[in-house]
Structures are given as structure tokens and as C-alpha cells.
Symmetry: C2
Subunit: 143 residues, 2 copies
Amino acid sequence: MHPITPAMNSFIVRAIGIIHSPYLSRDDAPRQGRFSDALVTLEILPEYCEGLQDVEQEPHHIVLYWLDRSDRNKLKAIPPHTGIEHGVFATRSPDRPNPIGICIVEFVRREGNLLFVRGLDAIDGTPLLDIKPYSADLDWVQQ
Amino acid sequence: MHPITPAMNSFIVRAIGIIHSPYLSRDDAPRQGRFSDALVTLEILPEYCEGLQDVEQEPHHIVLYWLDRSDRNKLKAIPPHTGIEHGVFATRSPDRPNPIGICIVEFVRREGNLLFVRGLDAIDGTPLLDIKPYSADLDWVQQ
């Protein structure tokens, strides 16, 4: 195996938009988006709107967002449902080295640069990073 | 809705490790990890190893990685299986503004800072960003 190249160790992500949700703080947000029925708005920046063509053809999307109120220095977390400490990579804690949130959302409707979705746990004002069509063929495993 | 704050529009992601795979170029890699049976190694940087505690307890993980050989300026893509152009956010194209790859992988075994997994389509040398436990309760929708 070749050695890790330190020169390639960091990259810049840019918000493609912003998430507007009814959750004003981490305490306010549901533990996972799946447990939320709230209508959430993804506002896409004008320069990225061309990339939205045909998103309305997909019933579900994978949404990636930047958890900008997270602690990136944490390597251990205690999930609320178990109370047992694990390494962050064995948990879904928002406090992790690269705080990228992921949710499978239900597409509701599009109005220009606004996408309305359900099933997203992000706090109001969270930067949006990416939207990908969800595919049960690719993204599902039987457990 | 409050306006987008330009000051908060970019963020730095750091590689937590590197992916070693048999795929040497994009042409070499399977179209999606799900179609690959190859054993792939995730090498975690020493400073992040504490975060791996208990990862071996999860049968499947969501792996996020940085598609460092992508074209970030593309907003349209033509998926190979349809031949029809869509906005990138309606496709799984690696060429997109924030080229973050996502795969659900099968955990095989851990040897110290090395995780062996199956089902990952990343090119050899791809920077690893995050590992999260997959949960059918959270990450699956019926289609």
C-alpha cells in the first residue's frame, strides 16, 4: 500500500444552498430525520440551480449537509439510546472530524430554487452540500 | 426565511484516512460499489484511530469519501444507463460541486487501523472522510 500523501489531506466544500427548518437548536431537532414529519425547505443558491433539472422525478433523495454547530475534536460519543461510549465512527453523532450529516428525504415539491422535503433533522440555517437520488438498489442492505 | 450568509459558505474537510482498492482509474472502477465484490482496505490515520472503537460491532457502514478526480464545475450529467441528460443533483455522477462519494459497505474485519470492507467503488488512493454505522431503520425507504 502506498503511503498517505499529506498534501492531499484537506479539501474545501462549498454550500450549494441552505436548509430552512423548524428546528432552531440541536435540542430542538429530532434525533434522526426519519422521526420527523416536518416540511423542510432546501433553498438552492442561484449558481447551482441548473443542477436541479429533473430532481422532481425522484421520490426520495439523499441529502448531505454541513453540521456547522458540531464539535470536530470529539472521537468518542455516547448515543442517547444506549448510554454506552463508542468511537464516533461507530455512532451517528453529529460531533465528528468531518461533520457531514446525511438523511434520506421524501421529495414533496419544487418551486424554482426551493425544494420542499420531509424527513430531515437539520437545524435551521444548516449549509446544504449535496443532493443525490436515493436508489433502493444501491443504498439498501438487508439486516 | 433568513438570507444566506456568504461568510459561512465554505468549510474544510480533512481526510481521516485513505482507501486502498484494486481500481486504478475511473474507467476501472465499477459504476457503483454495490456491483463490486472486491476486498477494499480503509487505512485510518493514527490520530483518528480512537474513533474506531466498536466499529467491528456493525455489519454495514456508510462510507463517505472525497472524489478527488472529479470535475466540480459540472452541473449536468448523462448517466450511462439512460443516456439522458439531467441536472447533477438528479444523478449519482461523481462530477458535482461537492464530490462526496457515498457507499454502503459490508464490514469484513479490522486489523488495527485497517478496516477491510466489500462493496466500495472508490479508486485507489481516494481520501476517506467518514464512517457511520448503517441502520436499516434510518437509511432505508420502500420504493
